[in-house]
Amino acid sequence: MSVEFSPGLTLIFGSLLVPVLRGRMRSAWVLILPVLGLAHLSLLTPGEFGIVSFLGHELVQLRVDRWSMVFGWIFMIAALLAAVYALHVRGALQLTAGFAYAGSATGALFAGDLITLFIYWELTAVTSLLLVWAGGTRAAYRAGMRYVIIQIASGMLLFFGALAQYNATGSLRFEHIGLDGPGGWLLFGAFGIKCAFPFLHNWLQDAYPESTEAGTVFLSAFTTKLAVYALARGFAGTEILVPIGAAMTAFPIFYAVIENDLRRVLAYSLNNQLGFMVVGIGLGTELSLNGTASHAFAHILYKALLFMSMGAVLFRVGTIKGSELGGLYKSMPYTTVFCIIGAASISGFPLFSGFVTKSMILSAAGEGGYLLAWGVLLFASAGVFHHSGIKIPYFAFFAHDSGKRCAEAPPNMLVAMAATAFLCVAIGVYPAPLYALLPYPVDYTPYTASHVLAQLQLLLFSALAFSVLMRYGIYPPELRSTNLDFDWIYRAPLVRLVRWTTRGIRNARGALNGVVQTGAMRIGHFILHESAEGRRLSGRWPTGSMALWMMVLLLAYLILYYA
């Protein structure tokens, strides 16, 4: 038996039942729905299905191949784990939005054409916005506004990129695009925004830590990995991705060291981990692309686990600032252990998931002769252990005892963390089932004596550096602060400029009123005149410049939002 509609739709339509049901019925449905999703995946057969005609074009709603399946499996598993973690939440908003969001992202994975991709792409933006807003604070509201404007800008670029593709080739299929292809740069920008490329990255650190304890677990899994998937399909072997990815692995870790909000530290390290995957896409070999796919798989699990453990702390203590925490291992011993398993996995300790996936990308870079990129990735591997592997557990659960005492995390959270931790260890100990899911045949042995020794040396000497810096009081303490990042540009000077300008305009408005009115009438006449057949405005405008103007409009909206 084969199913011919997208598994994304199962989750999206299933999510609509969540607010209708109450009490135990709802809890049961929340657990059944992702299991139905998993069953749906297991019934899929390779091929293209759900082909509908839209304005004379064929849209492929369900393309099943090895790329979409490996991401489909992990998206569905992540939805299940996040749902268990969120079972204690009373309102229906987070679980409804969470499933709709997971479903949209899954739908995008299986989209065989750019228009279907675009529709799901925008749906992920809107549904995830609800999760950011679920944070319920003024800061969450404002971060959500910034977030959705940037996400929709990404969607606009995707839309115009698709049109440019269509104009040039007559096809809307989503295959390899490349930068030389028509609309290549527009689509590259669309995927790059969602993938948090350098300077396009701040929406991630801005919005994710503002959501609720459960909302952030949902958020951490889907949007950015969907972007990784899209890049892998459209831009595998695009060499510029190697320096871009390398920069992504390196820059965020400096911020992670000095950031006080521990979930924001995790957002920076999420950005750093995406960098490894982007390098793998840029290298474009079977080994490196397998590395990207498997690293995305492992990453979704350990990153969710880390966000779960920090969410549990936030839920019990009411804050997640490193400067206010410490000594919680006494109150939350299980959460501490799960957090350490997540930390060991992201750091790539042998026998944990990160080790068997990240090493593929590093090996591909080394063997391919990308020595500089290899060195940066090695630096980032040491750095990620430093800030995610040590800093997160250390400042939350150990460090100086803050004197805070609380209950252990609720049972549903512990179950979710235990299951996720189990998967992190299982992949690390026995990677064969994961390797069997990857897009290309795997001919790679992670556990060689040289690999294990090299990785252990790297990690333990990093731990030694941390211990020495701590012991001699050189390590920067956790301080209450806001650290300026690239988003400062649109959160401070641009805002001031707009406020200053609008004030000026308001003052001058009285004087200008008459002038503006006659001016507007003249412009109106001009447009009417020029739109006539054969005149300037009646010609075809290239979609690229349309996209540019849409971006200008969105940017203007972002700025006016503050004014």
Binding site: R316, G366, A407, P410, T448, A449, S462, L484
Partner: protein, 89 residues
């Protein structure tokens, strides 16, 4: 604290509460690092990149990278740190 129904007992003294035990952990990290260097003497390494052949390369690299990372981040903090409510004012 959102849920104070089951506060854990805090009267108990934990192993890590004693400074001499923290010192033991610190020395254990040193011990493990030295052990890993010793293992390298016994192992014939297979490498992908030329520099990996150098004795203790990964250990040395990790140590220097992390010291460099933290010192640079400290400098960065001087540059980018603002009050917590910076964007809300």
């Amino acid at each position: 604290m959102k849920d104070s129904s089951k506060p854990a007992s805090s009267a108990r003294e934990y192993w890590l509460d004693r400074p001499e035990n923290v010192r033991k952990v610190y020395l254990a990290v040193w011990g493990l690092c030295i052990l890993l260097l010793a293992v390298e003497l016994l192992l014939h390494k297979h490498t992908e990149v030329p520099v990996e052949k150098w004795f203790g390369f990964h250990g040395f690299f990790g140590f220097v990278a992390c010291i460099g990372l933290v010192l640079t981040a400290k400098g960065l903090r001087r540059l980018v740190r603002r009050p917590e409510d910076y964007y809300e004012r």
